[in-house]
Every structure is written in structure tokens, then in C-alpha cells.
Amino acid sequence: MAPAPQLRQSPETSSTLHERAADNLRFIRETMERSAAFTGVPGRGGMAMGATALAAALLAARQPTVERWLMVWFAEAALACFVGTVALVRKAAATQVPLDAGPSRRFALGFAPPMLAGAALTALLYQHDLIEALPGAWLLLYGTAVVTGGAASVRIVPLMGAGFMALGLLALFSPAAWGDWYLAAGFGGLQMVFGFVIARRHGG
């Protein structure tokens, strides 16, 4: 065992040393937490979410009624939520950074409001029989959630959100029949491409 550091100083000096050491440890912990959350968005999880969305788009396009079409996408949303949460927790566990650390909390706080708005808007559009606007609204609001949630993350995360927003805007002004294609391109293709890049550069 290495010898303990010599501490033959006055009580005042010892106290200063103690404070500096504690301050250094606090600085290291805070820097690690901040940096780990910086790349907390899971890459492979995103790829898996993209794969399930592609399957959902194929399935949804074959549904005879609006209700069944909605059921497919609701099931996909639940599955993607599950896959994303598991991937997020696994990445946090791998880097040993708690999910309730400051930046993770900020990500959740930025991500949740647009998603809640999306849920409310879905109910409203369904009620008013404006189903054709749903793909555009979903992509736009999911993109907004990724941009606002990922504002403090690595640049690629808000960039992915901007991609979703652009697709959402295009979908809103395109023929209704293209809805599933836009959803496949966004929740499937875009998610998989960015997931691959995030996995390569930042792991998870």
C-alpha cells in the first residue's frame, strides 16, 4: 500500500487541504455527469426503434379502417417508448451516470412538453376527423421534442430533431396517401440513420 500523504500542517492548513480535495472530487463528479449526459441518447436503441417503425409503417399501410391504422401506430409508439427507455437505462448503466443527474433531467423536461402536445393534438385531430394531418403533426412534434430535449446534447441530436421537423412540414403539405411513407422515412429511416451515427460516435 502506498503511504498516506504527509499532513503536518496547522489545523487551518489541514482544513484548506481538506476543502480543496473535496472541491476537486466534486468537480470531477460534476464534469463526469455533465459529459456522460452529453451523449446519453442511445444509438443502437434508436436503430431498434427505427426498425420497429419500418415494420409498423408496412403494417399500417394495409389496414382497412382509420381505427385499426391508429391502433398500429399507437402500438408502435408504446413499443418504441419501451425500446427507447430500455436503451437509455442501459446506456446510463454502462457509463454509470444516474438518470436523475441534471442534464438528463433537462433532456426529459425539454422532451416531454412537445410529446404531451402531440398526444393532445392527436385526440383533437381524430375528433374532428382530420386524420390526414396526423403523420405531419407527429413528425413535427417529435422533431420539436428531440430538438428541445437535445439542445444540451451533442450536435447530432438536435440535428436529428430538425430532420424530423422538416419531414413533418413536408408531410403536412403533401397528399394524405403519402402519410405512411413519411412516417416510415422519419420514424424508420431517419431514426435508423441517426441511431447508427450516434452509436458509432458516442456508443449506446
Binding site: A2, P5, L7, H18, N24, I28, A36, Q96, R201, G203
Partner: protein, 131 residues
């Protein structure tokens, strides 16, 4: 210095979990000498950030540590000279990209530094209790 510490201790790399456990007050053995290379705040920040990431670009480190280009370059080079980080330069399209990774020696240096800080805290605490 860091190298003498490395000779005493087997060369192993601890996961971030272990590093954070050390910070949070886990039991660690005291190290003998303070590593001046990573004792400086900016360099300590660079090493800590790289300990929980496979690699970070110059831009990411700059944003994370709120450092200026010059300041970050100087300290990153110092860590590179000590063998604690490795630097890779590449191009993304036409834009040059500099990426940093923590080396095994850098990880061991951070572990020893954590042990040293823990040892200081416990030694001062012991001294107070005896005094």
C-alpha cells in the same frame, strides 16, 4: 509522479462506475504523490470528461468545459505529451476535426488522483479526530 505510481500498481482500467464510486466516498487506498499534470483544473476537466466517453471532439470538449480554443489546445497538448490522451485529426468533408481519447495511462492517472484526494480527506479527518 504519475509514473512511479503506475509502477506500484497493476495496470488496470476501472469503469466510470468505479471512478464515480471513488468520488462519492468509496474506500480507496491513498496514493503517495500528487500528479501535477492532471491537478490543473482544465486538464482535470478534460480527463474527467474523457473518462466517461469513448471520444470527444475539440468542439464538444470546448462547450463542455466552457474553454477558449487556445486554453483548451494548450492543456490538451500537455496531456498528450504526458501520454494521458491521444489526439486524432481527420476531416469531415472539408472541415478538420480533432478528436480526443483517454489512454490507459490517463485512466490510471485519474484513478490515482482520485485515490490521492480521498486519502487527503480521510487523513485530515483522522488528524482532526486525534487532535
Amino acid at each position: 509522479m504519475a509514473r512511479s505510481g503506475a509502477a506500484r500498481k497493476p495496470a488496470r482500467s476501472l469503469p466510470p462506475a468505479r471512478l464515480l464510486a471513488g468520488v462519492s466516498g468509496g474506500r480507496v487506498e491513498p496514493a503517495a504523490e500528487l500528479d501535477r499534470v492532471i491537478h490543473e483544473r482544465m486538464r482535470l476537466g478534460i480527463v474527467s470528461a474523457l473518462a466517461v466517453n469513448q471520444a470527444l471532439s475539440f468542439k464538444e470538449l470546448k462547450a463542455l468545459l466552457r474553454a477558449s480554443d487556445g486554453n483548451l489546445s494548450v492543456h490538451a497538448r500537455r496531456l498528450e505529451e504526458a501520454g494521458y490522451v491521444e489526439c486524432r485529426k481527420s476531416f469531415e468533408g472539408r472541415v478538420p476535426k480533432t478528436e480526443y481519447r483517454l489512454t490507459p495511462a490517463g485512466r490510471r492517472a485519474l484513478e490515482r488522483y482520485l485515490e490521492h484526494m480521498e486519502a487527503l480527506i480521510s487523513a485530515v479527518g483522522k488528524g482532526k479526530a486525534e487532535g
